[in-house]
Assembly symmetry: C2
Homo-oligomer: 225 residues x 2
DNA sequence: GTGGTTTCGCTACGAGTCGTAGCGTAATGG
DNA sequence: CCATTACGCTACGACTCGTAGCGAAACCAC
């Protein structure tokens, strides 16, 4: 999952799985305390209780290590069936926002994406371990909505994939931008307004109510501004 | 604009404005060739033809320098009146996408945002020199659409500001995510589909036509995939 | 001109990090 | 028992960082 399979290993001492977990946990810990730029592999090794050389034997560099460490945060993303498209969107967006609100995700993920603009292999790694997993949720939620009759079925698979990509960029991008660039929390109130905008567009009433009345329950309005 | 006014300077040798321009240009050049992580201030100084100490006298560190260098790229953002809300959105989004497509913007801006999660002063700097300038375009375009009658006027200023923030996060976030994370160009075809989604929502036909027929004129479809 | 002030270019420096090599040891399979 | 692989540890040259110190240059006020 994390380090690429080095060889079809036949015999010899196996790599310690505990060391892997300790290293990834230490990486997240260092991300929280130091951030991306001040994070050093030597410090991570010390925190994890392993030798620095062990790190370099498993990961090519800081980029790959941080991607793997952050990717584990997104494993908990689920898409429970809440009965309506609006409720499903709100649920998964709130989960996504909660993960992105963690300091290790903020600094680590964004820096890794920045580095991936000049490293195709890193971009591939991010896509495989993080992005594609999120995109599956979009496909699943869209299929559910189509089964419910909330969305018109899309027979053309090419057009369907294009639309799914678009939705994914809009949803993930909006949450990321809200959390990291605007620096404000994607709380229940924001998620509700965003869902309304996504479903109804700018022409509809984007302020108050989605198409059914109480999707997110009685969540308290945490006034941000 | 870039370096904070150090003192209410009275007399003495003035700072070379040409050096400022040369340093920022050299920073962008180094961002293109080296990316964020391998960019060193010593290298930038050499490229700009100034001493390394001059850099440290004007900027606190790599973060601030890169933010100022990238901010200049966004100065060219304009919002020409194209006659309809859909056309206005498509126009400004295409401009934004063109800037983000530059390699110096990709690596520099994202890395700076990543660092800003642990540096409030840097976040403020990014907001002042980059983000707020983009948000003004949202406000302007929205006001135009309300004057045209395409959008319902929003009397409550608090709610209006909230909605503008939401729109801004959705638009900017979607373009950034498309360009950097998905790694695909936000070309005319994508922008058209995005505009349709933004205006009509998921319930409407998000594939082909916005609410008026030909918003972007006869722009050729640059088939990407 | 003269003096005061600030900037600039240059050199040098200690501190810290990088990524690797080398060595002996531990853990597995045949 | 032996081959193979992973591990911990040390040490190393190379590089970057950010700063200090110096003399020279550019500007203003007088």
């Amino acid at each position: 999952m994390q380090s690429r399979t080095p060889t079809p290993r036949a015999s010899g001492r196996p790599r310690s799985a505990e060391a892997d977990a300790a290293i990834l946990a230490a990486t997240r810990e260092a991300l929280v305390e130091l951030g991306w730029s001040k994070l050093t592999l030597g410090d991570v090794a010390t925190r994890a209780g392993v030798a620095k050389t062990t790190l370099y034997r498993r990961w090519a560099g800081k980029n790959e290590l941080v991607v793997d460490a952050v990717a584990e945060l997104f494993d908990e993303l689920r898409l429970p069936d809440r009965g309506s498209l609006a409720a499903d969107i709100e649920g998964v967006v709130l989960q996504f926002a909660a993960i992105l609100d963690r300091p290790e995700a903020k600094s680590g993920l964004m820096a890794a994406i920045a580095e991936s603009t000049r490293d195709d292999a890193l971009r591939e790694r991010i896509r495989d371990s993080i992005v594609d997993r999120q995109k599956c949720l979009v496909l699943e939620g869209r299929a559910r909505a189509q089964r419910r009759g909330e969305l018109a079925p899309e027979p053309d698979p090419t057009e369907s994939a294009r639309t799914a990509d678009l939705i994914f960029d809009v949803v993930a991008g909006a949450v990321v931008h809200r959390t990291l660039v605007s620096g404000r929390p994607a709380d229940a109130e924001w998620v509700r307004a965003f869902t309304a905008l996504l479903l109804g567009g700018l022409g509809a009433d984007a302020g108050g109510r989605p198409q059914d009345d109480g999707p997110a329950g009685g969540a308290p309005l945490t006034a941000s501004s």
